[in-house]
Symmetry: C3
Subunit: 212 residues, 3 copies
């Protein structure tokens, strides 16, 4: 497993920051729905952006990423303040929230799986870590806002994150593709699958209750 | 404290997996009440099953158990998928959820207390860790489902978990009984007490509000 | 950063215990609103009192404070039982909850920031850690009680915690004031600001929604 890079190459560093910004925006948009003040925007935005990665690092025994890289918080601050200032004049914020969430989720699933493999976890643990990293920030955001988590909504979500992590592991660890290519393919496919799910309201079959 | 075993003997390994399966089933049954898809079943089932143990390990500074033992996740997957497939034809799922929860809770209280003592924690810290390990997964499950946690329902719950942890510490560390016997007695007593509480709707006196 | 003390001097040790007791009381008062039994009082009280410090320690990689200092739990137990016994005869518990919360929050913001700086975190990370330590217990308490977190209410809250952490860092690390004086000033100012916010229902401008 010595080819699992612990540090992201430059291109992915920027992709990581993009995912962070997207999730911070999703948190600020959730705060907007609850008519919070600027402090609430910043707090929910930060939790949404760094929550999944924090869970991932704590579970795997890594130092928590954002405590070592202050630029993460600078980006969260900038994005949430920008959303506070700009979005009262923007239409269809619900839709933007879903898309920002989808973008951040796609990248974090693959990176989460990779970090787990680098810590010598088994593939199944790596997939779970990927799902937690991808969905954790959004779940904490929704719990904080007293909303029903997006993950319980009707479009497929956890399943998409799991598929992204499986695809990454398949390409890189089974298929032998290099890190960059595997990550790009997995992220693109995850985002595309979630996009299709949002656009066409795709869902897996729901559980049918009998009165019991 | 050198007689606190860090590894469970074979019999308890299987008991641990049984508790895990019971809590995973409780999570899947909670997902069923919310009519989630299969992804939601697996996610809530995994959180319910490993949530308490994860909190316990993070608080005590242990490596998180399930990241080292992939069979935990295999069992969660198998159980939640089985509940998804089988339970639409099962009556009284509410009742099954309570019993599955009670079974998992009984074992985790004693194991949680034991792991804390093995990390040189004081008895009071060990009891608290036992309660967190026993009740944590169920609380996270209910928060995720936007339900009022079972622990706030009318039957005694946290108190039962605390009693189980106290009993274990009393038998093993004060009374000098061996590990296996202490664990069996504590688990049986905890489960029996919770069972009595469920069957007879036992509760401690509730707080009486004056308008204030 | 070698003048960041890891151990609190005697005076602050007692102030720390006072903040702990105040937050435990806030948890017990929240449990009272939900008419829980004594087990619920103790559990919610403990989570409110130690939740923020636990998050702080896990994020920074410290051992979790309360697992090493059993007197924390003794105080939580004593306070929550006292609230259970005494407060049915006390008026205006809502108001007491707010004030207990404000007192605990003031101290934890400054201590949280200081612990982060002692772990060589950047100032921005230290402010975030201070806010998490100050607000985390209250947020977990409210999530557990299925309430909307106090932090989303109309008076300024997260912003006050951030201001307290910034003030402490400014006095101690930029201004060069000694640890004790910086802490006393920051705690007093934070509590006073929150008190003013509560008394006069101060709030920052709220986000104005357009239908979107």
């Amino acid at each position: 497993m010595d080819d699992h890079a612990h540090a992201l190459p430059v291109f992915f560093y920027w992709l990581d920051l993009l995912a962070l910004a997207a999730l911070a925006a999703s948190g600020a948009l959730a705060a907007a729905r609850k008519n919070m003040d600027i402090g609430g925007f910043v707090l929910v935005g930060i939790v949404a952006a760094i929550g999944g990665g924090t869970l991932r690092d704590v579970l795997l025994g890594y130092p928590v990423a954002w405590t070592k890289q202050p630029e993460y918080l600078v980006i969260c601050l900038a994005v949430t303040v920008a959303v506070y200032v700009a979005t009262p004049h923007v239409d269809r914020r619900e839709t933007w929230l879903l898309w920002a969430d989808a973008l951040g989720m796609g990248l974090y699933a693959a990176i989460g799986a990779d970090k787990a493999l680098a810590a010598d976890a088994s593939p199944l643990v790596a997939v779970s870590t990927g799902v937690i990293a991808a969905a954790g920030g959004g779940i904490l955001r929704d719990v904080l806002c007293n909303d029903i988590p997006v993950i319980l909504h009707k479009e497929i979500y956890a399943t998409v994150a799991a598929a992204g992590a499986v695809l990454y592991i398949g390409l890189h660890d089974v298929g032998g593709l290099d890190y960059e290519t595997s990550l790009i393919i997995a992220v693109t496919a995850t985002f595309a699958l979630r996009a299709v799910a949002i656009i066409f309201s795709l869902s897996l079959p729901f559980y049918r209750l009998r009165p019991g």
